[in-house]
């Protein structure tokens, strides 16, 4: 094991979620959208959690959103994370919410703040979807 090896937990996609992570590798944000009720769905599922329609289509999202809530983690529960870091729930323009990190100083971050997506290639084959102040 090299000292620089990425030690944080990595997503292990299933066939169901692979399109999301593959899009992230291309530096694109794609979400499922229900063709019947119109709701955007995150995380990937085989059917819409709102109406149970199986007609889910992959759509590219704008990558814009707002911070719904956040915390500055000053004591991490996993040793690979360097404190402090900003963990947040971002509400995307499309309505879906996702857990993510905000690349900003703790002092900058506010609830309701507009943010835009960026893609963090943490390993050669895994890219995380993160946000920074818009």
């Amino acid at each position: 094991m090299s000292a620089t090896e990425y030690a944080k937990p990595l997503p292990k996609p299933s066939p169901m979620s692979e399109p999301f992570w593959e899009a992230a590798r291309r530096h694109e944000l794609w979400l499922q959208r229900c063709a019947d009720c119109g709701q955007f769905v995150f995380y990937p599922r085989p059917q819409c959690p709102n109406c149970w329609s199986a007609k889910l289509e992959w759509k590219q999202a704008s990558g814009r959103g707002r911070i719904y809530s956040y915390t500055v983690v000053r004591r991490a529960t996993h040793r690979a994370f360097t404190e402090p870091y900003v963990l947040a729930i971002v509400e995307l323009e499309e309505g879906a919410r996702m857990t993510t990190n905000i690349e900003a100083t703790p002092e900058q971050v506010r609830v309701g703040m507009p943010v835009s997506v960026f893609f963090d290639d943490v390993t050669p084959d895994r890219t995380l979807v993160k946000f920074k102040p818009a």
């Binding site: 809530s69 915390t71 004591r75 996993h78 963990l87």
Partner: protein
């Protein structure tokens, strides 16, 4: 179907929580509190014909109820785990009453014990949290409760000192509880606010301290309850609700399923909030109590901050809350954490609160919370005069 008056709690057993390197096993602790609760109920081991438990974090095994029943030498006619996290103790209470009402059994032992030792990987490798939250450092509940507090402050103007007041009043209660882990000195709002920030806006004293321990209670049929050693504590109403597992996908993170759970419990019991003599609200964090007070309907939504400042949450106060100290001062023995909210409500209603007895306590409201405000179970318990 109503469970009103169909069953009663008649005995409790509880360990003083302790810090341990974890060489004990949870079953050893379970055996001690199980025996204590059954003796307290005035029953024999052979009288127990129903059995509910939880798979401890420290001993994640399969087919756990049978292993535990065998260890205890029980031969139940109904056995199961109630897998709703911290909500399980309240969940066990009404499930026991339902099983009794259905004629499946007569005396149900509800018991949980756990250690402050967690296996390395509690999240299943295939879970949604593992895939979409852990990579960003949302591991364990701290961050999620912090985000609830942050959003609550944004929406309603709640302040850190409001949260601190909850920890302070509960500590006052713990000073009168010999079983509490932290009962040696009082706490001030300044103490809480000057303790280390762990996850903004939550300080060290806004957060429970992991420890080992366990507790048990016995729920029995009307016939058995009438012959019990202590005054039976009757189930008047119960409600349960869930609308998310991770708060990221909750419709709102500041309004919880406590609303629906409490509404169902109050409806079934047919009592009003004004009639409640004390509350016992799951408190893994101070914000949990604040949101539960609002969502259970004891004040207007968003007014939890001013409410806790205007009322005293101590056992002698006008809104006695977590008279045992809450988990914040009593300790959180792993998955057994929620038990103390049920055992304390039973103790108060039996009139066995000792120095912290709430005067003339006849009606108690209990809410137990699992996950991140995820599973919610409310109970209304009564001592008949």
């Amino acid at each position: 179907m109503s469970l009103k008056g169909k069953a009663a709690a008649i005995g409790i057993g509880e360990l003083k929580p302790f810090k341990t390197p974890g060489r004990e096993i949870a079953l050893e602790l379970m055996a001690r509190v199980a025996a204590e609760a059954v003796a307290d109920a005035g029953l024999e081991k052979g009288d127990i014909d129903g059995f509910f438990t939880c798979v401890p974090f420290s001993d994640p095994g399969w087919l756990y109820p049978a292993s535990a029943a065998e260890f205890l030498g029980l031969h139940p006619r109904m056995l199961n785990i109630v897998d709703t996290g911290g909500a399980a103790p309240a969940g066990m209470f009404w499930r026991a009453a339902a099983a009794i009402d259905a004629g499946l059994c007569n005396a149900v032992l509800c018991v949980i014990a756990d250690l402050n030792r967690e296996p390395e990987h509690r999240l299943s490798p295939f879970s949604v949290q593992r895939e979409f939250e852990a990579p960003y450092g949302n591991i364990g509940p701290n961050c999620s409760y912090a985000m609830i507090a942050q959003r609550h402050m944004f929406e309603y103007g709640t302040r850190p000192e409001h949260l601190a007041k909850i920890a302070v009043d509960q500590r006052t209660n713990a000073l009168k509880n010999p079983l509490a882990l932290f009962n040696d000195r009082p706490l001030t709002i300044e103490d809480v606010l000057s303790s280390r920030l762990i996850v903004d806006p939550l300080h060290l004293y806004d957060i429970v301290s992991p420890c080992a321990g366990g507790a048990a209670f016995v729920v029995a049929s009307r016939d058995i309850a009438r012959r019990a050693k202590h005054p039976p504590v009757w189930l008047l109403g119960a409600g349960e609700h869930c609308h998310h597992s991770s708060i990221t996908y909750a419709p709102s993170i500041t309004s919880s399923p406590v609303q629906a759970a409490a509404q169902t419990a109050f409806g079934q019991a047919g009592v009003t909030h004004q009639e409640i003599d004390f509350v016992s609200l799951y408190d893994c964090y101070t914000i949990t109590v604040l949101v539960s007070i609002e969502d259970a309907g004891f004040c207007k939504k968003g007014q939890g901050g001013p409410f806790v400042m205007e009322h005293s949450l101590t056992y002698e106060g006008d809104f006695p809350c977590n008279t045992h100290g809450g988990q914040l001062s009593f300790g959180q023995p792993g998955l057994a954490g929620g038990m103390s909210h049920v055992t304390e409500a039973i103790r108060q209603l039996m009139g066995r609160g000792g120095e912290r007895q709430v005067k003339d306590a006849a009606l108690g409201f209990v809410n137990c919370n699992g996950g991140v405000m995820s599973e919610q179970t409310s109970l209304i318990l009564e001592r008949k005069s």
